[in-house]
Amino acid sequence: MGNKQTTFTEEQLEAYQDCTFFTRKEILRLHGRYRELAPHLVPLDYTNNPDIRVPLTLIVTMPELKENPFRDRIVETFSEDGQGNLSFNDFVDMFSALCETSPRELKTIYAFKIYDFNRDNFICKQDLEKTVNKLTKGELSPEEVTLVCDKAIEEADLDGDSKLSFSDFENMISKAPDFLSNFHVRI
């Protein structure tokens, strides 16, 4: 191909192209963005797979994530340790799942994980309350927040256990065709 780059070996680049929706050029560009976040931490040469993690506080300063109300949850969901410290593989994985060509099923799975704040595989009322507060900046009164959450659970809950399992969530997503185009971060 002739593109001289020393950041990754050819096998690594091929592996990235296999496992994500990005092309070669995008992966190199992502590495540049990743390195920008912590230049003293992230090496230029990734050929020997260094085990470097960039902490959550630096990742959420990216312009694509800075204003997103769910930025902490997004980064935590894709981190291996659950605390939000992303290795480069996690970083690429995150943007790949959120990109335009990512299929609906993948996005639904990750959206469920993001909305599930307490990670118990159910979206319960507390999770919904946190979501509503993040989306309305806390300007609704507590009674209104409770009402909204009750209404949302009532609409979505199919099996009547007043919390939403993944199948309930998937069912509601299938009724919202805008979800696919809305759940999308451009990088």
Binding site: R24, K137, L140, D159, D178, S181, N182, V185
Partner: protein
């Protein structure tokens, strides 16, 4: 071996290594298969990379999406998609029709007393009339150069194949859009859950995010305080609503018909060259003013939901534009075709003028619609506020502009070039106007379903209308005697008949002749095909109904099992 390679290309590296190891073949054969599958994978990736470098305007789209959200961005995506149609059309037409003629006969044969004045840019007549811009500039001979190039067949087949490919592309993208955006039950359109799911993750601008949050707050409060939707109206109120609806629909249809009739009357006044600009001017003026008038109807008309209101507005605008275009096509095919020699070039010029004046009015419309509204909304009448970007109106304007290009392709093969320049400038113009004058949309609209509606509108009635007009022209109308590639024939389609007659003498192509005589020219074939398609559609429809019932049953079962 080919099947093995195909299988391995689709696997990931690790699986591929494992699968190759499991093969019961010699080492040499395994190495060969490994190399082949790696080669195909690399080819796939380089195609993907190459396609990405050709992507236009990525940075600008990201900026617009970040500030205004996905629904406004869908307008720009639609514009880019239409631009691709025009680029493809221009390349095909220029390559297959214009270049052979230019190679064979580089100098246009212009009569001595005609020179280039500035007015041609607007009117398209005069100097341009004798160039390859229009139908009349093309010869009907078989050009003898490196190969024998039959201009008649080239012209006919290039345009026919392009139209068919366009139709297929539209059908496929309509089907794909419908598949992703199909909603099973229309139950909760404003429900709390919908609102929670509708957060647009691609917005990155701080002010836009704040505004979205406050809009969402307002919408949530609205949905909480909703009273029962099914207000029982009294009979007199129902009659009153019905009367108002009937009246407004009659008024809008009457306006559309009236506009069409006045355009037909004005078409008579096209004698001198400067006067020819009158009709396009009036057409564009009507397309600008009458929709504004339609959007005032909402003051006294009450629809059940905002979406129905938008759809009603869209239908009225479509009716208006279709009636104007229909009247113009009728005039061209019935009056111009019989009155003038070289009538195709005249129709081509008329379309050129329509495209140019439409472009000028689009620029004017942007000025009035967005800039002035912003000034009025911020300085003069603060109650109105900063305007929003009217997606429906702008998309309809794009669809109309593209329809003009599709009708004009037969009469003026290089019209797509003008369209490309027009769309290019329009993109930057709308982007600047948007960022300077508009605010992000207040209601999180149903962008996906509107997108499906717009593609469906593009296809039917606009594309189908353009295709029918071109098909009618080539089937029934006599080409002009003095100019163009089809002079001397009874109708354009007989070019194929002549070609088939020539083919009968060549021994190896009897099957083409057979197909032409027994399949394309026989009515029984089309009857059978239609019948088969109808039966298949009915079967699919029944399957869909059955699946809907099954989903309802399963849902009931879930509730029963858990209780």
């Amino acid at each position: 071996e080919q099947d093995l390679v195909k299988e391995f290309v689709a696997l990931s590296t690790r699986d591929r290594i494992r699968a190759i190891r499991d093969l019961p073949m010699s080492f040499e054969e395994k190495k060969h298969i490994r190399l082949l599958s790696q080669f195909f994978r690399r080819c796939g990736y380089s195609i993907r990379s190459a396609r990405q470098t050709l992507e236009l305007w990525q940075g600008i789209m990201k900026e617009i999406g970040g500030k205004f959200g996905t629904s406004v961005l869908s307008y720009f995506v639609f514009l880019k998609w239409l631009l691709m149609f025009n680029i493809f059309s221009f390349l095909v037409n220029f390559g297959f029709i214009t270049i052979p003629l230019l190679v064979y006969d580089p100098l246009p044969n212009i009569p001595p007393n005609v020179s280039f004045r500035g007015l041609e840019i607007l009117t398209g007549a005069g100097y341009f009339n004798h160039t390859v811009m229009y139908y009349g500039g093309y010869s009907n001979e078989t050009l003898v150069g490196l190969v024998e190039y039959n201009m008649q067949l080239a012209y006919f087949f290039t345009i026919a194949v392009y139209m068919v490919l366009c139709g297929l592309a539209l059908i496929f993208s309509m089907a794909r859009s419908f598949k992703t955006n199909y909603v099973l039950a229309e139950s909760t359109s404003n429900g709390a859950w919908q609102l929670l799911c509708s957060w647009d993750f691609s917005i990155t601008n701080e002010r836009a995010v704040r505004q979205r949050k406050s809009n969402l707050r307002v919408q949530l409060k609205e949905s909480l305080s909703e009273k029962a939707q099914m207000e029982l109206l009294t009979l007199s109120e129902k009659l009153k609503h019905f009367g108002v609806h009937l009246g407004s629909w009659l008024l809008s249809t009457g306006l559309a018909v009236g506009c069409g009739a006045s355009i037909y009357y004005l078409c008579q006044y096209e004698q001198q060259e400067a006067e020819t600009l009158l009709v396009p001017f009036v057409v564009s003026l009507m397309n600008l003013v009458v929709p504004l008038f339609y959007s005032l109807f909402y003051k006294f008309e009450h629809y059940s939901s905002q979406r129905t209101q938008i759809y009603a507005l869209v239908v009225r605008n479509v009716l208006l534009r279709m009636s104007i275009l229909g009247v113009l096509c009728f005039y061209w095919m019935n009056v111009v075709a019989k009155k003038f020699s070289c009538w195709e070039s005249r129709v081509g010029q008329a379309l050129y003028r329509l495209v140019i004046v439409d472009f000028l009015f689009l620029m004017l419309g942007s000025f009035f619609g967005e800039f002035l509204s912003n000034v009025i909304g911020t300085r003069l009448l603060p109650r109105l506020g900063v305007p929003e970007f009217d997606i429906a109106r702008n998309v309809l304007e794009l669809i109309y502009a593209q329809t003009l290009a599709w009708i004009g392709i037969y009469f003026s093969p290089l019209l797509p070039a003008i369209q490309i320049v027009k769309f290019f400038i329009l993109f930057y113009l709308k982007k600047v106007s948007l960022t300077q004058n508009c605010q992000p949309p207040r209601r999180t609209g149903r962008a996906a379903q509107m997108h499906t509606t717009f593609i469906a509108l593009l296809f039917f009635p606009f594309f189908v209308g353009a295709l029918s007009m071109v098909a009618y022209t080539s089937w029934s109308l006599t080409p002009s005697e003095q100019c163009g590639p089809f002079r001397g024939l009874n109708n354009t389609f007989s070019v194929v008949g002549v070609w088939i007659d020539d083919l009968e003498e060549i021994p190896g192509s009897q099957w083409v002749v057979w197909i032409y005589q027994h399949v394309i020219r026989s009515e029984l074939f089309y009857f059978l095909i239609t019948l088969i398609i109808l039966v298949i559609m009915y079967i699919f429809w029944q399957v869909t109904q059955g699946r809907k019932d099954l989903i309802g049953l399963l849902r009931q079962q879930i509730v029963n099992v858990s209780v």
